[in-house]
Amino acid sequence: MGAAMAKSGRVQVNSQLLVLIGILAFICLVFTFTTQSFLTVENLGNLVRSSAFVIVTGAGVTLLMISGNIDLSVGSVLALASCVYAFAAKTGMPVELAALLGALSGLAVGVINALTAVRWKVTPFIATLGTMYAVRGFVLIISDAKTVRGGLPPNFTFLDMTHLGPIPLAFFIVLVVILVFYAIEKKALLGKYSFAIGGNKTAAVLSGINADAVLIKLYLIVGFLAGLSGVMMCSRLAVGDQNVGVRFEFDVIIAVILGGTSLAGGKGSIIGMIVGALIVQVIGNGLNMLNVLSFWQSVIKGVLLVLAVVLNQALVRTKGR
């Protein structure tokens, strides 16, 4: 093998991150020159707002995928939390409480996922696929397939309306989530163990790590975050839309993988996921401005996803591991 290169793990991930940021910057530049209003405060604000949901859920999903697992139910959870929040708000309880209930409904789904995927050892892909279906159906049932519209309290959209300075509350939530999960990824045991389980499960277990306990925590976290995203989305739309979140899970997965997380686990980063989410949003946003049909976005998303993985694998191969 020869002498080791004096490159730490951080540096290696960072080079991939730099490439990503470069791509993002490049795309932004292209759109700045080809449209009038891309680089305006209003537009950038919109961008950030629409990426919020993917980023918040993605923070948890990144860790989960780093550990080598997956969760396909987040889209359905989005819808569930939306409706729960709307219903709860209708009953007259304080909106903050209603919002908490919404997020907790996501946590409940996380419990189901933890049970089937970890305890009963059903393969995560299928287990969360099942939850996805079941929850989606459940949402349709409780909402009677109708958007929850009437009877909502005036401060229903408090997450978007309440401002601290010029910045809405929702933005702070996203910021807090990013900071917390970045810290977890880099400094907390949960983050380290996720990398260990995804990278070399045998070694992790031999070192005394309780892999099941870690995975259960991760599924609960993802459920909660998806619930939170649902509440945020509901607040933004000002209605409890039971149709939201279809294909949301794939948007999240694309952002996570674009950001450098491998499906097999063991590597990834939250910052990368954020850049990945932004890239997808920016492309959508810019193409909208150029009056390109939104359907092209679907095509581009698909190509992007495959390219991201190919790039990922090529990088792994050239590093010789």
């Binding site: 093998m1 002498a3 080791a4 380290k192 990398f195 260990a196 070694a203 031999l206 790590i209």
Partner: protein, 514 residues
């Protein structure tokens, strides 16, 4: 007087049909480097697995630190102060050195890792003393094999292990790195750590060992002080190794070998100066009706040669099949040219474990059972049954799932698969590993029959008796190159063979063998 760390009394381990350990008794003294040697199948790994909780013993007793020791899991052994360094290193490549060293032992506050300063200082000190060149923040995946070993050792030290077991640690590292490893082992001695060292490279025992235990066929033959052994051979290392070999082999009688004169003619398979990632300038010939054996230690290159022939690895040099130079891009091409391989790992490489005997036998070549392009159930059944009878597979029928068969019968299925492909050249990689004596015999006689029928057969094995009983000629390998090619016969010197493959013949013999 060194106190005893581990006391083994009458240890026996039975597997169905095989007695892996038979009434083994010896003791391991504290703070020594205790080497364990023996051929493949002698019982080394079973012994270690029982000591470290990966297997349960059948009978006998083990005490550890004076107390009864019967662990149910490797976790239990680890908590009690045992660390094992396997060949597949248990480090997480994506984490840094520091993170690996503290994995599973972190102190935390609110879930965030808090550095346990005292523990950390110990770990750093351990690491520095072993190899100051490793940076704490380096990603483990970027380090060499030797360095990753060092990390595992450092981890063991810092968790205050009393005992570190090293299983063939020098198999994958360079000579320089071996020297450093030995220096580290000497350091471990100073730290009052006991080391169990398993190796095939006999010279290493004299470099690093204090006591050596020789196992053979599941029994403990001798446990002796290395110094005493050396002295009894006038401190001549070659002599001393010979003595060890004598203990390892016992009386090796190639009583079942019947000399066979291969039909003279052109070779059916030829290697001329073939090199690959692991192989160095290998040349040999195989004739029709001949059984050629490749013998060497773990890592000598046996499987690599099989892979090179079979089209799995890229090679430089020339390979000739039936006189024509050939390059196989994949196994299919090799099979079409008449070469079939029985792989080393039965369960993962040789068998389709979810399918039946019938389906396994026919997978390599389906032409015999086709009718009008479709598979004929009738023909397939007939074919399977004829093989079951011919090769004597003990089964309820061709519809039985192969996973349920015994090791010997499974191997017969794999052989049948290759025979069905009507190969003129058969590659058998460890053909009777883990198989009971009865089935071993049957398979050996089958191999002889096949050779008598004109097939060219290559046997790759790390069991010397097998090689001596079966093969007409024997190629001895060490570290990827051919050391010597011998013709088998009544005067076969198994001693010399062992010396050559353990590289303990001394400098002149090495130069001679080239």
């Amino acid at each position: 007087m060194a106190e005893t760390l581990i006391e083994i009394q009458g240890l026996t381990k039975n597997f169905p049909g095989v007695m892996a350990l038979r009434d083994v008794s010896f003791s391991i003294a504290r703070n020594t480097v205790h080497c364990i040697v023996g051929e493949n199948g002698a019982g080394k790994s079973t012994l270690i697995k029982i000591l470290t909780g990966a297997q349960r013993k059948t009978s006998g007793s083990v005490t550890y630190n004076g107390k009864d020791w019967d662990p149910r899991s490797t976790g239990e052994a680890m908590k009690a102060g045992m660390s094992v360094l396997f060949q597949e290193l248990n480090v997480v490549d994506q984490l840094t050195v520091e993170q690996n060293l503290t994995l599973g032992k972190e102190k935390s506050r609110f879930g965030f890792e808090r550095r346990n300063e005292a523990q950390f200082a110990l770990t750093v000190e351990a690491l520095r003393s072993l190899d100051p060149g490793i940076g704490l923040q380096e990603r483990v995946g970027n380090l060499s094999v030797a360095q990753r070993q060092v990390i595992e050792i450092a981890k063991a030290i810092s968790s205050n292990s009393d005992l570190i077991v090293m299983d063939e640690p020098t198999a994958a590292i360079s000579d320089e790195e071996v020297k450093r490893l030995f220096a580290i082992i000497r350091q471990l001695h100073e730290r009052n750590v006991t080391v169990i060292y398993i190796t095939h490279r006999l010279t290493e025992i004299f470099d690093i060992g204090d006591i050596v235990t020789v196992l053979r066929d599941g029994q403990m033959i001798e446990t002796r002080s290395v110094r005493e052994l050396s002295a009894s051979c006038s401190d001549d290392e070659v002599e001393a190794c010979s003595e060890l070999i004598r203990m390892m082999l016992g009386k090796v009688v190639a009583e079942r070998y019947v000399p066979r004169e291969p039909p003279s003619g052109d070779p059916i398979l030829e290697f001329s100066n073939v090199s690959s990632a692991k192989l160095k300038d290998v040349s040999f010939e195989l004739r029709r009706g001949e059984i050629l054996g490749f013998y060497g230690l773990v890592g000598a290159g046996k499987t690599e040669i099989a892979r090179a022939i079979y089209g799995l690895d890229a090679i430089t040099g020339t390979m000739r099949v039936k006189g024509r130079p050939r390059v196989f891009k994949n196994p299919r091409a090799a099979i079409s040219a008449g070469i079939a391989m029985v792989p080393e790992e039965r369960r993962t490489e040789g068998l389709l474990t979810k399918l039946t005997i019938r389906e396994n036998i026919t997978i390599m070549d389906m032409k015999p059972i086709k009718r009008f392009g479709f598979l004929s159930r009738v023909k397939e059944r007939q074919l399977a049954r004829s093989f079951i009878e011919r090769v004597r597979i003990a089964t309820t029928g061709e519809e039985q799932n192969v996973a349920k068969l015994s090791g010997g019968n499974q191997q017969k299925v794999v052989l049948s698969k290759c025979l069905n492909a009507a190969s003129s050249i058969l590659l058998l990689d460890e053909p009777t590993r883990g198989i009971d004596v009865g089935a071993k015999e049957e398979i050996h006689s089958l191999i002889r029959q096949l050779a008598d029928g004109g097939a060219g057969i290559i046997v790759f094995s790390s069991e010397l008796p097998e090689i001596l009983n079966l093969c007409d000629r024997i190629v001895l390998l060490y570290n990827g190159s051919v050391r010597k090619t011998l013709k088998n016969g009544a005067e076969m010197d198994s001693h010399l063979i062992m010396q050559i493959v353990t590289d303990s013949t001394g400098s002149d013999a090495r130069a001679q063998a080239g």
